[in-house]
Amino acid sequence: MRPEARPGWGLLAGLATRDLWHDRKVSLCIVASLVAVIAPLLLLFGLKHGVVSQLRGELLDDPRNLEIRLLGNHDLDRAWFARLAAQPGVGFVMPLTRSLNAQADLALDSQRFVAGAEVIPSGPGDPLLGARLAPPQGDSVLLSASAARKLEVSGGERIRLLVLRKLDGNSERGQREVTVAGVLPETAFPRPALLVSLDLLVAMEDFRDGFAVPALGFASGRPALPRERYARARVYAGSLDAVAPLAGWLEGERIETSTRLREIESVKAVDRVLGLIFAVIAWTAAIGCIASLAGAFLANIDRKRKDLALLRLLGFRRAAVGVYVMVQAALLTCLAFGLGYAAYLAGSTVFNRVLGANLAADAFVCRLENLHILLAFASALLIASLVAALGGYRAIHIQPAESLRDL
């Protein structure tokens, strides 16, 4: 029986591999020229990414960098809050009372008290809380680190919340016992402050406005109407990039704001400058690499003309010879990328050990995400395949007759 089978791709890939191994000196030269481009680019991008993420991380650690502070008192209704919340890039929004009413005295006993602590309404998603603390609710409140230090209290203890008002010439003191559910980290808020639910803050303002507030021990008098309007708001952007557009939107609403845009802008400027430097170097290196690869691949194909013609003579199809050349390019690129990645790992370890010695334990100077590695690998493979396709185009036009004669 005469077989009708055709040569398989596996056989072709096996031949391509053996060819590369047989020709390992030349293969090694091609791999080395690729590694010489891949490793420095990975390191350079790793440094850029590492430095910029470090700076951004430091900014993000301080929630004030995401805050857009509204200056002055306004008249903000529910519809306005709904519009604000619908803006893209909004991280956290919480209504706030008039500034003078957002203060209270805190006392544990006659010795330990804080006069005029800031009272801040909080809720789920508040950047001040970080990932660890639950938002305040009802009687449970949170203290800033400095307030907790002055009161010498820690989580679980009860303190008194005192609010003064003058009504018909009499000084009255509203008070309420609350439980300290937790203490904010030192970096979250520098001044003495108390985080409460919005309801409690509103009750305090109602009390100062002369209404009856049973929650603070004054049940007589007119009850307060349900709250529809607020004087101010706490606004946080969801990301550093969203701070400027949100501030711009608020300006459009005729509300003056104050942000830490300068710090954010300086980090972005560093990002831009490093990005430009990286792009210029990467393009220069890539063009050089493409030129050297093209030269190496094409010269290689000229050198192997006879072998390729022989493969055609033995009955490999044209496309198979093109694939043969491409497989070789892909194999060399995979090897080069592996070595380049190893060189990157070694280099980045040196950077992180030596340059990162004065940073925090989890800080890094040079770092790449898995996605970056994957993208770099894909681009290397793409470039090599394109260059090899040029050679492959040349290879498929090699005539099988070239193997029969000694030209």
Binding site: M1, R2, P3, E4, A5, R6, P7, G8, L11, L15, R18, D19, W21, H22, D23, K306, D307, L310, L311, R312, L313, L314, G315, F316, R317, R318, A319, Q399, P400, A401, S403, L404, R405, D406
Partner: protein, 244 residues
């Protein structure tokens, strides 16, 4: 009479104004024929055309295989002329792999495979087991056993030529084509290779066409000759005819 294994009629190839003509050629199973003629008369070109790697300007018939085997008793010979006219490269490549065996002038072994793998390549291309009875026999006869694990660069030209011959018959083709296989061999080696080619052709019942200008050797081995003579009708050209 058994139908011919290879049958060609009215083949013409142009090389500029130079024309190479083959009015008729039939080879039976087990038959060896040699293409001879003066240098540059187009012997190799003719062999390349018959080896399906050149496209002729004219070709009336090219049939390969009598197909009278047990599995397909009624099958007609394969009409290769049509494939060549339509320039069906992929199908022609498949035919080269399945039905033809080549012995190029300088051996034409792949430098990155050892002798064993070079010989096994045509079989592996067709998905056959790497080694067969015939292959082992030929390796034995040609004394290639000690060379099997050497790369072609480590072999002498004669050794390469012998390995190339075993590779050309490894997949049991219909037609063996050899372009001056003995050009680089000394007379004794050349004679031994010729005898082996004739003997193998008969034993494997294939057809063999070789290019040679060694008339003495051809005569000694009683090989049928196809002689290229200047074309009398056309100005500049060669006609290949059976020698009287």
């Amino acid at each position: 009479m058994t139908p011919p294994m290879l049958h060609i009629e009215n083949l013409a190839i142009h090389r500029g104004t130079y024309r190479i003509l083959l009015p008729s050629l039939s080879l039976a199973r087990g038959e060896v024929a040699a293409i001879t003629g003066a240098s540059g008369c187009g012997k190799s070109t003719l062999l390349e055309m018959i080896g399906l790697i050149l496209r002729p300007e004219r070709l009336d018939r090219y049939e390969l295989g009598d197909e009278a085997d047990a599995a397909t008793p009624d099958a007609a010979p394969l009409d290769i002329a049509a494939l060549l006219r339509e320039d069906r490269q992929a199908r022609l490549a498949d035919l080269r792999a399945q039905r033809l065996g080549f012995v190029p002038q300088s051996g034409g072994l792949l430098p990155f495979l050892d002798v064993r793998r070079n010989i096994a390549l045509p079989r592996r291309m067709l998905g056959l087991p790497a080694s067969g009875e015939r292959v082992e026999e030929a390796i034995e006869q040609l004394g290639l056993q000690p060379l099997l694990h050497k790369k072609p660069a480590q072999l002498s030209i004669g050794e390469r030529q012998r390995a190339s011959f075993v590779r050309a018959i490894a997949h049991e083709p219909d037609l063996l084509l050899a372009d001056e296989p003995t050009a680089a061999l000394d007379p004794l080696q050349a004679r031994r290779l010729f005898e082996l080619i004739v003997e193998t052709t008969q034993r494997l019942r294939i057809a063999t066409l070789l290019v040679s200008h060694d008339w003495g050797l051809l005569r000694a081995c009683a090989i049928r000759r196809l002689v290229g003579v200047p074309d009398a009708e056309n100005n500049g050209g060669t006609v290949f005819r059976d020698a009287p």
